[in-house]
């Protein structure tokens, strides 16, 4: 019975979305149902995390009850459970913010059901053990995210959604090509079975092509720098709660994919993949930081900042030592919390502007009317730049330490520069919004978006900064688990004999 726990974080939001659609003309009840669904689902994701980390049991559930690798498997190993919990936590915060936000689009009858299907897609991508099923969940996630963006109050919302969807659809087609190439070579799409067969016979001609296609698909998914051009445009126009979720946890799908490729599927190619990730990550830190300094819009600045922060995580994966991998995981978790909170704060300031915008020229001095948001933004900015006592310090510390241990000084210098740049642009945004005087004649709206969700996230950042042991231990457990692909294969297939194709 315990094994069925893994289904709940996927099925509960889906059921909530269905009930929410039935309640489309009772919006108050729809909101209650949505919040109840995501809270229950977060609870079960936490229970799953507890089950995997504290009780030490991984779960591999074969859907439909067919034995062997022929069916779709849902797997909760330490990495999946960690990523799924992280996603659910930020999604919960995003929905909580959406319930208190003043945007007109949040009163659209399909807004919250779409948010829940986004949760289904994201959690499913992290928990599935089948490559094609991952494609299906990614498509669900992309379609929900696109519709949520196209609903935006911003007049240019459809343009942003169009750009995102076009690129993401193209990326999904590459994922499909990779599925086809792997299936024609190895006759299976179950990731554990695939890893076993690739390790047994790495010489198939279609394999390098599949690796390249998967790399391209995941790079577009997480907006790694040469593939990033849609991302700042898209994020400027999305509604704030959607933007906060998409820019913090949805981009982690690519990170999850890279870690799985490195440690499970293509262990033989790990050195090449890591080298590419290291170069692109270092470039991303540089480019994202400079791009963020050059913007004139708070939300766009944070979107560029995401490019830079993803660069840090990729550099961590690229160094490839166990400690660097642990640092990348800690960084990914912390970045999700910090970036979601920062975007919500920027959005709540934008909602105070006479005409809703996050353009620095229009929101100068608006912070005078929301001092609590200023305190939270300062703490979040410190976390983003990596200053103690926040969790950002913890992630930067572990990352730099693992860089010194790996003796990779050039990339270390680049990410050090990137960290300094972070301080520059966060400081500039804080100064423009909260330090400068309110210009004459600008009348801020009396009420903006509620600050409860970013306050909870920033509170978590502080708690994790002061008491980071659980996070460090979790990252340690994951790294030990990922050190050998056999752990995952054993957990899923249970030592079943290799099936001949």
């Amino acid at each position: 019975m315990n094994d069925h726990l893994i289904v709940l974080p996927i099925v509960i939001p889906l059921a909530g979305a269905a009930v929410g659609l039935l309640l489309h003309n009772r919006l108050r009840w729809q909101r209650y149902v949505t919040w109840l669904a995501i809270t229950t689902s977060l609870f079960f994701a936490g229970l799953l995390l507890w089950h995997v980390f504290v009780a030490g049991e991984t779960i591999a559930l074969e859907m439909g009850g067919w034995a062997g690798p022929a069916d779709i498997t849902l797997v909760a190993d330490p990495l999946s459970a960690f990523m799924a919990f992280m996603s659910q936590l930020v999604l919960w915060a995003g929905i909580t913010y959406g319930m208190g936000c003043k945007d007109k689009c949040a009163r659209y009858p399909t807004f919250f059901p779409l948010f829940l299907t986004l949760a289904v897609g994201l959690t499913g991508t992290m928990l599935t053990g089948d490559l094609f099923n991952m494609f299906v969940f990614i498509e669900l996630m992309v379609i929900s995210g696109t519709v949520l963006t196209a609903l935006s109050d911003d007049y240019f919302g459809p343009e942003a959604a169009f750009k995102y969807f076009y690129i993401s659809l193209f990326a999904a087609l590459f994922l499909l090509l990779a599925c086809g190439s792997l299936y024609v070579s190895y006759g299976t799409l179950n990731m554990a079975d695939l890893a076993q067969r690739i390790a047994a016979d790495p010489g198939r001609p279609m394999l390098p092509m599949a690796v390249a296609m998967l790399m391209a698909a995941f790079m577009i998914k997480s907006a790694v720098v040469p593939f990033h051009f849609w991302q700042p445009d898209f994020h400027t126009a999305a509604p704030t709660p959607v933007h906060a979720v998409l820019s913090s946890v949805v981009v982690k799908v690519g990170i999850y994919g890279f870690i799985r490729m490195n440690s499970l599927l293509f262990v033989d190619y790990a050195a090449t993949i890591q080298m590419i990730l290291l170069v692109m990550g270092a470039f991303g830190v540089f480019f994202g930081g400079l791009g963020a300094v050059g913007t004139f819009d708070a939300k766009r600045m944070l979107a560029y900042s995401t490019l830079g922060q993803l660069g840090f995580i990729l550099v961590g994966i690229g160094w490839g030592t166990p400690m660097a991998l642990a640092a990348a995981l800690i960084y990914a978790f912390n970045h999700s919390l910090i970036k979601a909170a920062m975007l919500m704060l920027a959005g709540s300031v934008a909602s105070r502007a006479p005409v809703k915008t996050a353009n620095f020229a229009k929101i100068t001095g608006l912070g005078k009317v929301t001092l609590p948001a200023g305190v939270l933004f300062l703490l979040g900015g410190m976390a983003l730049a990596g200053l103690p006592p926040t969790n950002g310090f913890l992630s930067k510390l572990t990352l730099f330490r693992s860089g010194i241990m790996a003796e990779s000084y050039l990339s270390l210098a680049i990410i050090g520069f990137g960290s300094l740049i972070t301080l520059v642009y966060v400081g500039r945004a804080f100064q423009r919004i909260w330090w400068e005087a309110l210009p004459e004649g600008v009348v801020p709206k009396p009420q903006g978006d509620r600050l409860i969700a970013p306050a909870i996230l920033i509170g978590l950042c502080l708690v994790l900064g002061l008491w980071g042991t659980p996070l460090l231990q979790a990252a340690d457990t994951i790294t030990i688990w990922l050190s050998s692909a056999d752990h995952y294969i054993q957990a899923v297939l249970g030592g079943a004999a290799l099936l001949t194709p």
């Binding site: 094609f132 299906v136 498509e139 379609i143 696109t146 519709v147 196209a150 007049y155 240019f156 459809p158 343009e159 942003a160 959604a161 169009f162 969807f165 076009y166 659809l169 193209f170 999904a172 087609l173 499909l176 090509l177 599925c179 086809g180 190439s181 299936y183 024609v184 445009d233 400027t236 126009a237 913007t295 004139f296 819009d297 766009r300």
Partner: protein, 110 residues
Amino acid sequence: MELVTALAIGAMFGIGIFQLLRRNVIRSAIGLIIISNAINLFLLASGAYDGIAAAYQDAVGQRSDALPQVLVLTAIVISMGGFAMVLAMLYVISARYKTSDLDEIKRLRH
């Protein structure tokens, strides 16, 4: 016949990429549809489909691998939903921007 299938996949992919890079939004969307169909054909071909016998049996008359066909069906359904949405968004965009030139759809850029 395998060669014909392979050439067809390659040609469709090439035409699709060419159309995708055109400036007209409708042509570009059609390019995406052609690429998606090239990939569906590729998936079908991965199930030992050589174009001689029907896709559900191989040349000797045996049952052929059914899984790629299931994958193709799922991919077709998903891409149909996706393209319906692309076209709906194109409709809204062309109404708001009064243009069908992709180079002019860039008002988000500061």
